[in-house]
Amino acid sequence: MRPLLEKKIPLALVFIIGIIMTLQYFVPHPISQTIYDNSLMWNRAIASMAYIMAVVSFLRFHSRRLKDKNYAPYSLVAILSFAAMALIGFIGGTGSDSLFQKMYNNMMVPLQATTFSLLAFYMSSAAYRAFRIRGVEATVLMITAFIIIFGTTTIGNYVPKMNEIVEWIMAVPNLASKRGIMIGVGLGVVATSIKIILGIERNWVGG
């Protein structure tokens, strides 16, 4: 009974729905669109159930960590923040003038922006590592990066032909590499989809 419920039925469902949704893409008829819209609604319904499980996981994870003195302060903050925001949202609503929104805008957004701003420092250290001349490829990378950085600065605008060189690098070798990767990705996406629809790839049901 367990293999039937956990493997065979999911695989059969994926096969049937996978074929229907693939064909749906090529059929513009309103019936086809209705099927697509309904599938999106199913997605949202499943996601809302998954959120309940996610919240349980979050609380379980942090409540267990309260016992560990190394992690307790962080987990306590996480649980209290979660409880406070949930309570404020349930009691005062989540409208644009609500306390919930104010807390989000004045606490959550600055915190996210702070983490985001760290990227500047990370980029510097990553660039240093990338531009160290260790071989031919690294040298080419460094020279190219120098041209792009210099060409996009104010001083670079005053150097004759610099803008054209930068544009050429971005539009020809850079774009060609990107497109090469994207073609491979496109084929990989289709191949993975077909593998899953045909039931060849079964790792998502435990192999």
Partner: protein, 358 residues
């Protein structure tokens, strides 16, 4: 003013109406108004009459040359007329168009080339799968990033430290996430054989539920269900930088020996991978996010670029059926290269051999 209004009061021919696609919901109305009159218009109305007698007036922007009405039914007929006003005075009114019904088609002809390409690719895949079933040996070129997976797991085992595995920051509808989950299964099985702990902080609730089942099943498959710890596969947060901060903190505090970054990433990629690099962890990344690839290449020991992410599951399992699909991908790429070269040469000589497919 009255005289001016009368002078501008023109009876236009009926507006041209056509069905722009086969969705059965849209009609496009061409607003043929002379350019000389347009500057006078302050309000432009389109009157729609349905075959059931219902009449609606649509207020549209005066400068529009065409308007697509996109909330219609393919079971009803519609006709339109244009009314234009200048400061509240009607300055012209068109005649009614003919009744027309939005066309509902069962196949989108514009997608025919895509359909043919998809069918061709599917046939190639089925051919190679059949070859694999017949036990014909298929060669796969070595992929350094995938060869390194076992080495990375071995290092974590030797150091007695956990592996951190991240499935990317997109939902389950993204194929990159599915590819990442497939690799997770292999990595968990391999790590389980050495009793090495694997930690999977999740960003998306749906991905969390699936990742949890995959890890649980992977341990069960290798006969070690006891190794599954529900606290190691958990939902962290769905805030992008909150997640980055959480994972970075775990890397630093627990000094993970190995970090896997598989799936699709955004701006947080560098925060995650640079933090991991600073802790001295061996890092393997795999993404199809072209914008984030350079960051991973710089900060990780091995990077699976684009399609290699999708090939990883087959490569790691060495299952003939799965490797057959990689051969199909390679042949499809070769065909694409041939087509592109031919089209490029033909365009140099200004010869069109596309047959209108592109």
């Amino acid at each position: 003013m009255l005289l001016k209004t009368i002078l501008f009061m023109l009876f236009l021919s009926p507006p041209r109406v056509f069905s722009p696609d086969g969705t059965g919901k849209k009609l496009t109305i061409v607003l043929d108004i002379p350019d000389a009159i347009r500057p006078q218009i302050t309000t432009l109305n389109l009157v729609r009459e349905c075959s059931d007698g219902k009449v609606d007036t649509l207020d549209i922007l005066p400068f529009l040359k065409a308007y697509t009405d996109n909330s219609l039914s393919y079971k009803k007929d519609y006709r339109y007329k244009i009314l234009a006003y200048s400061n509240g005075n009607l300055i012209f009114e068109s005649e009614w168009s003919e009744y027309i019904r939005p066309t509902a088609k069962w196949f989108d002809k514009d997608k025919l080339p895509l359909f043919i390409a998809m069918m061709l690719f599917t046939i190639i895949m089925i051919y190679y799968i059949a070859q694999a079933r017949a036990n014909k040996p298929l060669y796969l070129r070595p992929i350094a990033g995938l060869e390194a997976v076992n080495e990375a797991i071995g290092r974590a085992t030797e150091m007695g430290r956990p592996i951190i595995y991240i499935n990317g920051l997109t939902g389950i509808s993204d194929i990159a996430t599915i590819a990442a989950l497939n690799i997770l299964s292999h990595v968990t099985k391999r790590a389980g054989q050495f009793e090495t702990r694997i930690v999977v902080p999740c960003y998306d609730p749906v991905v969390y539920t699936i990742a949890r089942e995959i890890v649980k099943e992977a341990y069960t498959t290798i006969g070690r269900p006891d190794l599954f710890n529900p606290d190691d596969v958990y939902f962290a947060t769905d805030s992008q930088f909150g997640y980055a901060a959480h994972v970075a903190a775990r890397m630093v505090r627990e000094q993970s020996a190995t970090n896997f970054f598989m799936g699709y990433y955004f701006a947080e990629s560098l925060i995650l991978s640079e933090t991991g690099a600073s802790t001295g962890a061996i890092q393997v990344a795999g993404t199809d996010s072209v914008a984030q690839l350079p960051f991973f290449v710089v900060t990780c020991d091995y990077t699976l670029i684009g399609e290699e992410l999708y090939a990883a599951s087959a490569y790691l399992s060495r299952e003939p059926l799965l490797t057959g699909t990689i051969k199909a991908q390679d042949l499809a790429k070769l065909l694409l290269v041939v087509v592109m070269v031919l089209l490029s040469i033909s365009s140099l000589f200004k010869v069109n051999i596309t047959l209108g497919l592109f």
